[in-house]
């Protein structure tokens, strides 16, 4: 209360400065006249009394100054004077100012760019109404590290109906839905669309009403399969339906079933995932969306993510307590011991779950460290500029000292100036980061995939970060020069003895700055070099099989409810038609795409070494393939043979094992001719062949156990439709346009998709590519900044030593010798800095070698490459100013002062 009054009084004084001043004068005048009157009462003359009164008071100005100093607004006033003075000083040297601001803005901009992306992906809450009240539920078995965000429909219903902490509890699951022919857009082919299957209250929990039409109603959420309705995203409405204004109420075909469009979401609605969800259907349509297998009754499989809005009066921790209790109640009578221990966690909802966040953080820390170094280099540059400029300002500062400014006062003034630079740089950095984040976003997603919908608009976090970066840059680049420059000897300054500069300690500081700059940029460059080399290695990995010239055709017969027999016939027909296409070498089929994004795994055991029921068997990746598969993809059979056509058509119980799987099952024996099974009492499969180990699951590991069986042979019923692999002598890319046509000739209604197999490899290499690209860009930015630093320091040294150089030349020194001397002086700094940076990089890269495939800590080529680049840039940076110095005319140089 009192503080507030104080602030208001101060504000009033600041605004009515003249009135305050007048009142103060009046009060002092009143005091003086009373004092004089009192003195006159003692009998002295009026003039004498006035004089005595005035003498007693001292200087009125000083009294007023003291009164002013008792208030906070005087400090604000002084700060304002410092700022206006600083702006004037900076404006007088536009070249220097622009250079300093631009340098710092580059450093800050790079930092803010990275932060904007980090903010959008990790920090920002979900883009929904009042996001701090929206939480996600995570399922976790106590004692295990892995967290799942998935619940069964049954458990979701239990949580939804029994909690007292949420005003709404919604469930959703990602689904790929086939949008069929559209009555109103003739010719558009069936396509897979990224969608979500959601509970009826999904949009209510997120707090977003429909843009047009409505969202789901309660009865659309209560009876299974009776309400085929869909809500479209704005993007889907625009691109797929041309923004049709009468779309509401029209029918669209999803997985061969007619759905009514009931609503369109607003343009800026992103939802729970940043991956362009195009439409939403109710949970109750699970049977259709999951191709006839409704997941609603399946108590054992978790497939739903649960998101909820807290009631106004509750907290996250209260919700946590209750959900843990509910989970214990729900899982209490579970047969499986592990499931009994399952509990639920509650956390504020974001794009990433806590586990993803903790895996992103170390990578983010490394990137922030790198961009932090770039900012430090920029600061070192500006610090050097300020030191040099301090020389030019010695006279001005000396005069200020001689008229009574304290050293602290000078430091404050100089720091104000560099903080102004930092502030301007932060503003410019905001613009740079805006542009940078938008253009970097396109690199953030893998090749051939749609960009993420991220909200990159700067929010208060970005503003805070920029303010902190500006303050940091201003202080770091300003403190050392301010302390150094403010050490003034007024006498010398007035005698204009600026020639000798700051002497030894000033040049030592400058040298230290250059050395640290070089060290930091060498560090970044070496890191960039190592990453680029690692990328090269990742690129040249031989996966062990031949991905080139193969197109993969994916068909979805389940969408059309094909019977297994009809499907087999269709595949046979399709394969024989494709085989007649010119250039096609072989046509084979498999269920999983090598190096693709889906895996099939199964438990496996050798005959005679079965595990006890309840124990976990060894697992292996598996694929069900046709006989030509090995030939078509160039996977060598080390022993035994491939499947025969007869075995293929009869789904015989035969298996081909990868070398590493065979070794794991029978470490000391020959696996050929032995038998495996997939459960303790499951049928036996004869091992007829041993295949070479290939990198078909993870690109980075060559010996993942792998099992090949025939389609519909892996013991369980086959879930997915087969993929057809087509090897051609021509371009696989060309096939991606022609093959779907062949499929449509057979049945135009079966959704079909064709990809190039080699694209999968690009997907694996993409993270390395991203890391290498980013670090190379940062490394060269650092090098550019360091080069500017070296140039300006050498140029400054030349200016300072013009007289000395003139004398040397006048005394007969060869210009070449002068150039050599000057280059050596800067070159020494480059050598020292380079050595320090390289040593640091070598130390840190040992850690990095564990994080990234192909990264080697002792990669001499990367180090030598950086040395060559640095040496040539450094030499050039010193040579230009040194050359100028050697051209100095001795007469002019001696008159320089």
């Amino acid at each position: 209360m009192n503080l507030l009054k104080n602030i208001i009084a101060g504000m009033r004084n600041l605004v009515h400065r003249e009135r305050t001043e007048g009142e103060m004068n009046e009060e002092l005048q009143d005091y003086l006249s009373r004092s004089a009157a009192a003195k006159r009462d003692t009998g002295i003359s009026r003039r004498e009394a006035e004089r005595a009164a005035r003498a007693e008071m001292g200087s009125a100005a000083s009294v007023k100054e003291h009164v002013r100093a008792a208030t906070w607004e005087s400090a604000a006033n002084a700060l304002w004077r410092d700022i206006t003075y600083g702006v004037r000083v900076l404006a007088k040297q536009p070249g220097y100012t622009a250079m300093a601001i631009l340098t710092l803005a580059l450093g800050i901009g790079v930092n803010a760019t990275i932060f904007s992306l980090f903010n959008a992906v990790v920090l920002k809450p979900l883009p929904v109404a009042d996001p701090s009240r929206v939480v996600s539920l995570y399922s976790q078995v106590r004692g295990e590290r892995q967290q799942g965000q998935v619940f069964s429909f049954d458990e979701y219903k239990f949580c939804r109906d029994h909690n007292s902490v949420f005003s709404g509890t919604a469930a959703y699951s990602g689904a790929t839905i086939i949008v069929g022919d559209l009555q109103n857009s003739a010719g558009s082919e069936p396509a897979w669309i990224r969608s979500q299957i959601v509970s009826g209250n999904f949009f209510d929990v997120l707090g977003t009403p429909a843009f047009r039409g409505r969202t789901f109603s309660a009865d659309e959420d209560s009876t299974e399969g009776t309400h085929p309705v869909a809500v479209l995203s704005y993007g889907m409405w625009q691109t797929r339906f041309g923004g049709d204004p009468f779309i509401i109420g029209k029918q669209i075909e999803l997985n061969s079933l007619k759905y009514s469009v009931i609503g369109i979401m607003p343009p800026d609605f992103i939802g729970t995932e940043p991956d362009n969800t195009a439409l939403w259907v109710p949970l109750m349509m699970s049977s259709n969306i999951h191709f006839g297998n409704s997941m609603l009754q399946d108590r054992n499989s978790g497939w739903l993510r649960v998101i909820a809005r807290l009631k106004p009066s509750t907290t996250v921790s209260a919700a946590q307590t209750e959900m843990a209790l509910l989970a214990a109640r729900y899982h209490a009578d579970e047969a499986d011991q592990r499931e009994k221990n399952r509990t639920t966690f509650v956390a504020t909802a974001g794009f990433l779950d806590p586990e993803q966040k903790s895996s992103v953080l170390p990578i983010a820390a490394i990137i922030f460290f790198a961009v932090g170094l770039v900012l430090l280099i920029a600061c070192a540059n500006v610090a050097n500029l300020q030191l040099s400029r301090g020389i030019a300002r010695q006279r001005e500062l000396g005069i200020r000292v001689s008229i009574g400014a304290s050293r602290l006062r000078l430091i404050r003034q100089l720091l104000t100036e560099s903080l102004l630079l930092g502030g301007a740089a932060a503003a410019l950095g905001l613009l740079l980061s805006w542009w940078g984040a938008a253009s970097l976003r396109t690199f953030l997603h893998p090749p051939n995939e749609q960009a993420l919908t991220l909200n990159l608009n700067p929010d208060w976090r970005v503003a805070l970060y920029l303010a902190a970066a500006g303050l940091f840059a201003g202080l770091v680049s300003g403190v050392l020069p301010a302390v150094r420059v403010s050490r003034q000897d007024p006498l010398r300054a007035l005698r204009q003895e600026s020639f000798s500069g700051f002497g030894a300690s000033g040049s030592k500081l400058r040298s230290a700055l250059v050395i640290s700059q070089i060290a930091m940029s060498v560090f970044l460059l070496v890191a960039a070099g190592l990453l680029a080399r690692a990328l090269g290695k990742a690129r040249s990995i031989d996966p062990g099989f031949n991905l080139n010239n193969v197109a993969v055709l994916s068909l979805n017969f389940r969408a059309r409810n094909y019977t297994p027999a009809r499907r087999a016939a269709a595949i046979r027909e399709l394969k024989s038609r494709i085989a007649t296409v010119p250039g096609v070498i072989s046509v084979s089929q498999g269920q999983t795409v090598p190096l693709g994004d889906s895996f099939h795994a199964t438990g496996i055991m050798a005959e005679g070494k079965e595990v006890q029921p309840g124990q976990r068997p060894m697992t292996t990746n598996t694929n069900s393939v046709s006989p030509e598969f090995f030939d078509a993809l160039g996977i060598a059979l080390l022993r035994g043979r491939t499947f025969t056509e007869r075995e293929f058509s009869s789904s015989a119980r035969v298996a081909i094992l990868s070398k590493s799987l065979a070794q794991k099952l029978w470490p000391d024996e020959d696996a050929l001719g032995k038998h495996v099974r997939f459960g303790p009492t499951a049928p036996l499969y004869e091992v007829i062949g041993i295949a070479a180990d290939v990198r078909n699951v993870y690109l980075w590991s060559a010996d993942v156990p792998y099992l090949y069986v025939l389609p519909a042979g892996a013991g369980a019923e086959e879930r997915g439709d087969p993929q057809i692999f087509v090897r051609t002598s021509g371009s696989a890319r060309a096939l991606t346009t022609s093959l779907p046509g062949i499929s449509r000739q057979l049945d135009a209604s079966v959704p079909v998709n064709c990809k190039v197999l080699a694209d999968n490899l690009a997907l694996w290499i993409w993270p390395s590519e991203l890391a290498a690209g980013l670090s190379t860009a940062l490394g060269f930015l650092a090098l550019l900044l360091a080069a500017i630093g070296i140039t300006s320091v050498t140029a400054f040294a030349v200016t300072q030593r013009t007289r000395e150089i003139g004398i040397r030349i006048a005394l007969g020194a060869a210009p070449k010798g002068v150039v050599r001397m000057l280059i050596w002086q800067s070159g020494r700094l480059i050598l020292i800095g380079g050595a320090i940076g390289a040593a640091l990089a070598a130390a840190v890269s040992r850690v990095g070698a564990r994080l990234l495939y192909g990264l080697s800590a002792v990669d001499s080529l990367a180090f030598v490459g950086v040395a060559v680049v640095l040496a040539s840039v450094g030499l050039l940076a010193c040579y230009v100013p040194a050359r100028r110095a050697a051209g100095v005319d001795p007469i002019i140089a001696l008159r320089y002062e």
Partner: protein
Amino acid sequence: MAEPSGELVPGTLEMLILKTLDLEPRHGWGITVRIEQISNGVFRVNPGSLFPALKRMVRGGLLKEEWRATENNRRAKYYSITERGRRKLLAETRQWDAQTSAIARILEST
């Protein structure tokens, strides 16, 4: 009138100002005169320290300032004590008493 000798005991100016204003509001000169009178001319307040102290105390909420018309048709700024100022005076007086009696005891002991 004898030449006043004493500077104030450091740190007591605010307490003395509060005390002189405890009875009635006064202007700057009035405060100076009052302190001089009561102390029999031992203490004399310099305007160079009086006015900054008054400003501080007004800002600190211990005093209120107000322009009032004076006898000769001019106006002067009068200071009066606030409730907060009274509490502060009470507290400082107690502390002062405790300190001075302690010092006195030390000085009396032999």
